[in-house]
């Protein structure tokens, strides 16, 4: 089915709202499960939106922006999964793979902003030095406006303007390619986890990574809460151990200090 101009506009507005939220990480309506649902609503197929939301949410679970990284953008991915499924009449599962290029496009736009917004810093600094609160507050709106607008434009172009070529593309894609995109959607979280590990993994935490992996692989349960609890158990046990050790170490330090003190006294 085709997307009307009005629908395209509504999608753009929704992209701006969700996109700003994605930038700020406030309400978490930028997560696929919400983005897809609302997009489905706009296109008049709520149920498909909800289903796509469930599938996409799972595919993006590992791709968090923790530590200031930028994963493929969930807003664009959510919108385009529903749009591609809707306009090409294909299963959301396959559409996820096809929406990924859009998600990556937005990811790179945001990465550019992450780098280039440092251009605002000197001005911020000047206002700070001048104690000019009003100007400071005003300037703080500019980056947000840029981000919001970008989301709107990219979403409009992707969802409305590109639907013709998109359909041609999808129709001409052989099965192995669409299946390949599906597979990619399933493997993609690995990238997010690898990036997390680069930030967080030290040798001393390797056992816990392994523990979580083994326990999750062995218990047939649908979410990671049991494993998180096991992690919490080990964390708490370690907490009290560390506390005890700290006390011991503090005592030793005291003794060392006394010793040196004693040594100095001897010298007098």
């Amino acid at each position: 089915m085709e997307i009307t101009f009005i629908q395209g506009l509504l999608i753009a507005i929704w992209a701006m709202i969700a996109g700003l939220d994605c930038w700020l990480q406030a309400f978490f309506i930028f997560r696929p499960i919400i983005v897809c649902t609302i997009t489905g609503l706009i296109l008049g197929d709520l149920k498909m939106g909800v289903i796509a939301g469930g599938l996409t949410e799972l595919a993006f679970a590992g791709l968090t922006p923790a530590g200031g990284t930028q994963p493929p953008n969930t807003v664009l991915c959510g919108i385009m999964t529903v749009v591609v499924a809707y306009t090409n009449n294909i299963a959301p599962q396959t559409a996820i793979g096809l929406s990924l290029p859009f998600a990556m496009l937005m990811q790179y736009i945001l990465l550019i902003y992450y780098s280039s917004f440092s251009l605002f810093l000197p001005t911020f600094d000047r206002y700070a030095e001048d104690g000019n609160a009003k100007a400071f507050k005003r300037l703080n709106l500019v980056p947000m406006a840029i981000v919001t607008l970008s989301f709107g434009i990219v979403a409009f172009l992707s969802a409305y303007a590109a639907q013709g070529p998109m359909r041609t593309l999808v129709n001409s894609m052989p099965h192995w390619l669409t299946h390949g995109f599906e597979l990619a959607g399933g493997i993609l979280p690995a990238v997010g986890f690898a990036m997390l590990l680069k930030v967080m993994l030290k040798a001393r935490y390797l056992p816990y990574l392994l523990l979580g992996f083994v326990v999750a692989s062995m218990i047939p349960f649908s979410n990671v809460l049991p494993v998180a609890l096991v992690g919490a158990v080990f964390a708490m046990i370690e907490f009290y151990h560390s506390k005890d050790e700290e006390k011991t170490r503090a005592k030793i330090k005291e003794l060392e200090a006394n010793n040196q003190g004693g040594g100095m006294n001897d010298g007098i």
């Binding site: 700020l24 309400f27 997560r31 499960i33 649902t37 149920k47 909800v50 289903i51 939301g53 469930g54 949410e57 590992g62 968090t64 200031g68 992450y114 780098s115 917004f117 440092s118 605002f120 911020f124 600094d125 206002y127 700070a128 030095e129 104690g131 609160a133 507050k137 703080n140 980056p143 192995w176 390619l177 390949g180 995109f181 597979l183 990619a184 399933g186 493997i187 979280p189 690995a190 990238v191 986890f193 690898a194 590990l197 967080m200 993994l201 935490y205 523990l211 979580g212 992996f213 326990v215 999750a216 692989s217 979410n223 990671v224 998180a228 992690g231 080990f234 964390a235 907490f239 560390s242």
Partner: protein, 273 residues
Amino acid sequence: MESKTDSETKNQRHSIFSKHEISMLGIRSNLVQSSFSYERMHAPGFTWAQLPYWEKIYRDDPKGLSRVMTDNMEFINSSPPLYPILMGLLLSMEEDHVDSQTIKGLKNALFGPMAGIGDAIFWFTIMPIVGGISASIAKSGNVLGPILFFLVYLFLFWTRIPLAHLGYNLGAKAIDIIEDNSKIISHVASILGLTVIGALIASYVKMKLTIKVGAGGAVIDLQRQLLDKIFPNLLPFAFVFLLYWLLKKNINPIWLIIVTFALAIVMSLLGWM
């Protein structure tokens, strides 16, 4: 005795800020990422959120305002949902005109560990759990899935208000506690975080071979008769570590995504997955 009632009723007696104003601090904390840049990360948004309060404290002291603004424009990066505590704390100290060097030191001592704890809790535990449960409801087309998700995060949004009060009311008293424990706490948060990441790898990375090797009577299904017998989720784990190793070699993350896509498409083409 005095000091006890002192802190308990601070909000009522000493504070120049109303309860409503402290609540608003929690709300304003939502904009810490407003002018995010890699150079200073949350600094401008962090300053912006606290600005009205400093304006009130330093109403008749432009120098003071300038100083506090400049101080807060230094690099800072922490977990967004925990900023209300940090800001509440700093505000109560600023109000008590604690020495600016002390405040800075405290800020620097806290934001790092708080990032670790917050990420472990919010990104790696709450999100995949709430997301996973809602998604499993949504997958059958049930709209209660997204609604549940939304309600949980609305609640988390709301928690910023009591957290701001908490930080503000505890004030300097809280500092020793947090500072003493910050090293241990970030250690402990890493344990929790990495356990959960291990579980997420097992749950969310999907790689299954579909080929069989051998010929004649000696055919085995590689995935089910070999890999799954060695250990379930062996491929996902190995692949994550391959990517990890590439990252360690300073390969750009963009390449990892490309490699992933290429691999998936080649595997599809060969009929191996």
